[in-house]
């Protein structure tokens, strides 16, 4: 299979993850219980899903920091509709955030393509626009009291076990959704022409243009893909929390970026894999979980997270420096 560079990153990550797990287990044996692991996986499925979308954007050479706002808007509209119209069908509700996410993503793509300004600036602006307008219209009101089917859906598990205390636990359906999307993303990136074009665009945008690739189409795909996943993740988030707090998601853009970069995605584009991103998310998730289990104060979370991001970025830059020295042409 291709991507020997990526493979080395993933192997390295698996190793780091194992070491981390051992360390955390030693610090607090509760970490390694299946119950805890399933819990961590469940709680991070939101992050995991969006991170996959961010990966695709990063591979294409772009970046998107507006996805938190997109997820918020998408989930909020869904929340309003299901509570106001007492929608009972989870499936129907699930369908609402998706087109919203895609539409907002398309807006991003359109601006990125037409203005040729760096996507960071475009998406920061859109983050403010989407989120600001939502807050104005919604007045920051929380939405809760979902119809019963939603509560039941959130409890769905694949594989149920009973703990010593008699509490059910198991692999949450959301985790399954996350991993499913990871597989789908992998299939798209590996086996579909559009996925390969995403890599190509990130590798050499000028060559892509000359080769006749429809650059706008590719950008439309990547930004709509993360839009789609943001909408979906918005649904997941609403389900996990059984309520919608408009200011809950915005602000976590960096966690996702960190996970993607840890997982081997390059800010410059052209590299990264879904497996790597999943491992990256797991790494961050385990660290956070470890901090919680160790009862570290919430403030230290930020410090550690920031430190990890800086570390991840440094290692990534280091690796790229070595790659650049190995390359001889093009």
């Amino acid at each position: 299979m291709l991507g020997r560079v990526a493979r080395s990153t993933e192997v390295y990550l698996v190793g780091v993850l194992l070491v981390l797990s051992v360390v955390l287990f030693l610090l607090n044996p509760k970490f390694a219980t299946l119950e805890n692991i399933f819990d961590v996986l469940r709680n991070n499925s939101f992050l995991g899903i969006v991170a996959l979308g961010e990966l695709v954007v990063l591979i294409s050479g772009g970046i998107d920091v507006s996805f938190t706002a997109i997820a918020t808007v998408a989930q909020y509209v869904m929340g309003v509709l299901i509570t106001r119209y007492a929608v009972e069908s989870v499936f129907l509700a699930f369908l609402i955030p998706i087109p919203i996410g895609i539409a907002l993503g398309a807006f991003n793509a359109f601006l990125v393509n037409r203005t040729r300004v760096h996507p960071v600036i475009i998406t920061i602006s859109n983050l403010n626009v989407f989120y600001g307008l939502l807050m104005v219209i919604s007045k920051g009101k929380w939405i809760y009291g979902f119809p019963a089917p939603f509560r039941d859906f959130a409890r769905l598990k694949v594989l149920t076990l009973v703990s010593e205390k008699g509490v059910d636990y198991g692999l949450s359906i959301f985790t399954v959704v996350w991993f499913l999307i990871a597989v789908v993303t992998w299939l798209i990136l590996q086996y579909l022409p559009i996925g390969r074009k995403v890599y190509a665009l990130g590798g050499n945008s000028e060559a892509a243009r000359r080769a006749g690739f429809d650059i706008f189409r590719i950008q439309l795909f990547v930004y709509c893909y993360i839009g789609f996943l943001s909408g979906l993740a918005g649904f997941v988030h609403a389900e996990l929390n059984q309520m919608i707090q408009p200011n809950a998601i915005v602000g976590r853009e960096l966690d996702v970026l960190a996970a993607a970069i840890l997982g081997g995605a390059s800010v410059f584009g052209g590299a990264g894999s879904p497996l790597g991103v999943v491992l990256g998310v797991l790494f961050i998730a385990f660290v956070k979980n470890g901090l919680i289990l160790m009862k570290a104060s919430a403030y230290w979370h930020q410090v550690i997270m920031g430190f990890i991001i800086v570390l991840a970025a440094t290692l990534s830059a280091y690796q790229q420096n070595l790659e650049r020295k190995r390359r001889k042409g093009v």
Binding site: Q190, A211, D214, R327, G329, V330
Partner: protein
């Protein structure tokens, strides 16, 4: 025998960029199965012609016919679909993708809905590679390959997409003699299958060897299309430049002068090995060899940008070790880079800044202040002294022609009063008049200011004209040393290709 149909015909093409006429009423046709050489100095309109033929730019006047059919507006995609392909000098490859994927990247446009079958792609890639006799792993990431191998991948890509016409833009500058011959063999084979080629090169011998006919462009005008039999190299040069080129040496023999630079057994794995030579004061030493022979790599080492794995450098008898090019500059070494646009100039910034960047330290006042007017004053003096044609000292350097841009880079180093100046293919992309001007500048620097020059080139006539001594590099080693009087252009070329 039916008359051969032109694959492409450009008729009465005129193209203007602002006030400059890049092409004037140009007629250009390539027949099926023909190898058509295209020669011309830089600035003659070759690249514009290629851009028009591939739909990248539109002409103001004229028409384009592909296989007899008039095309009202040619786009890159349309050109591609009709079989017009170009292998650029920068190759346009995807460095993060594999060899196989690069070869078949175009299929992602046509076969948008089907799945990528990796084994199939890799097998077919092996086939294409096999036809070229190249042994490359189709799964290898292209960015890791050497430039020569990457170029081969680019050529395979054109071949793999059923091209009817493949335009090769300076294809051989990085290939060894053997690889060039292999490429020619393959061109001939494809030609027999009815594929046409446009072969653009400065290497007139190669052009004459492989082409059936040659078109000469000069100053945007098609001077004529000539069958191979009617041409000699001398005649071609004459047609291209409008002047007889003399390869008579312009330099007198140098009396024994003191040693300025000596390198001993410089080695850098994968780039050059066991390089030793001496440079004397006021001497112009030529270093000639194809790209990839190590000539630029040695220069970068002397300039402090790429430390050698082993070997020593002596400046005026004292050993020196450079940790960066700033060290080298402080010791009096200057370097005019190979890639003027990327490595030499800051295109969007003013001429004055580009000229004075190396000596800003000398222009500051007592408290470390630097007033822009000082930069402009120095720049204006340099513009006068070196004959640079610029609209203003604060105009962006992008607005200058290639030759004048090169003079800007040269003047920035001359202002540092260097002991050694390394000129890396200084006349690439420079029109004829400016070339002569640069030769004169170099000679003047050596003669009047005693600056020693390492003149890197890949054109034989140039080094024979301007250098006191010539070193030939091949595959990372110095293989021979000549005095211009001892060797003919022909013999020199033979030595270079090996």
């Amino acid at each position: 025998m039916p008359e051969k149909l032109p694959v492409i015909r450009l008729a009465h093409i005129t193209k203007r960029y602002g006030g400059v006429v890049a092409l004037r009423d140009v007629e250009f046709s390539v027949l099926l199965g023909e190898v058509h050489g295209l020669v011309g100095e830089n600035g003659s309109g070759k690249s514009t012609l290629v851009k028009i033929a591939t739909g990248v730019v539109q002409p103001e006047e004229g028409e384009i016919f592909i296989e007899g059919q008039k095309i009202s507006r040619l786009t890159p995609y349309l050109a591609f679909k009709r079989g017009i392909h170009v292998v650029h000098q920068d190759l346009s490859l995807f460095p993060n993708l594999s060899v196989a994927e690069n070869i078949f990247a175009h299929e992602y446009i046509e076969r948008n809905r089907s799945f990528v079958v990796w084994q199939d792609m890799e097998r077919r890639a092996l086939e294409v590679l096999g036809r070229l006799g190249v042994e490359l792993d189709p799964r290898e990431i292209v960015g890791r390959l050497s430039f020569a191998d990457q170029q081969l991948v680019a050529i395979c890509r054109a071949i793999a997409s059923s091209a009817k016409l493949i335009i090769l833009d300076e294809p051989t500058s990085s290939l060894t003699f053997r690889e060039v011959q292999r490429l020619f063999g393959f061109i001939r084979e494809l030609k027999a299958q009815g594929i046409a080629f446009v072969f653009i090169s400065h290497r007139l011998d190669e052009v004459l060897e492989i082409s059936d006919v040659v078109t000469v462009l000069r100053d945007g005008v098609n001077i004529g299309t000539f069958p191979k039999g009617e041409l000699t190299k001398a005649r071609l040069s004459f047609l291209m430049t409008g002047r007889e080129i003399t390869t008579e040496s312009l330099v007198a023999d140098l009396p024994e002068a003191r040693e300025i630079l000596r390198v001993e057994r410089l080695t850098r794995r994968g780039e050059y090995a066991d390089v030793s030579f001496t440079l004397h004061q006021g001497e112009i030493l030529g270093l000639i060899g194809p790209r990839g022979s190590g000539r630029t790599e040695v220069a970068l080492t002397i300039f402090g940008l790429r430390p050698p794995d082993s070997g020593k450098i002596f400046l005026e008898g004292k050993e020196v070790v450079f940790r960066s090019n700033r060290d080298a500059i402080r010791h009096g070494i200057g370097y005019v880079p190979e890639n003027r646009l990327l490595q030499g100039l800051v295109l969007d910034q003013p001429v004055a800044d580009n000229i004075t960047v190396t000596i800003l330290g000398e222009l500051v006042s007592r408290f470390g202040f630097l007033h822009p007017s000082r930069k402009i004053a120095v720049a204006e003096r340099a513009i006068r002294d070196f004959g640079i044609k610029a609209p203003a000292a604060d105009a962006p350097v992008r607005s200058l022609s290639g030759g004048n841009q090169q003079k800007v880079v040269l003047s920035r180093w001359i202002l540092t009063a260097p002991k050694i100046l390394i000129l890396d293919t200084p006349t690439h992309g420079v029109d004829v008049a400016a070339k002569e001007s640069i030769y004169e500048m170099a000679l003047g620097l050596a003669r009047e200011r005693g600056i020693s020059i390492l003149f890197i080139s890949d054109e034989e006539h140039e080094v024979l004209k301007v250098c006191h001594r010539i070193l030939v590099m091949r595959e990372g080693r110095i293989v021979r040393e000549y005095r211009p009087s001892e060797v003919t252009e022909e013999a020199l070329r033979q030595e270079i290709v090996g």
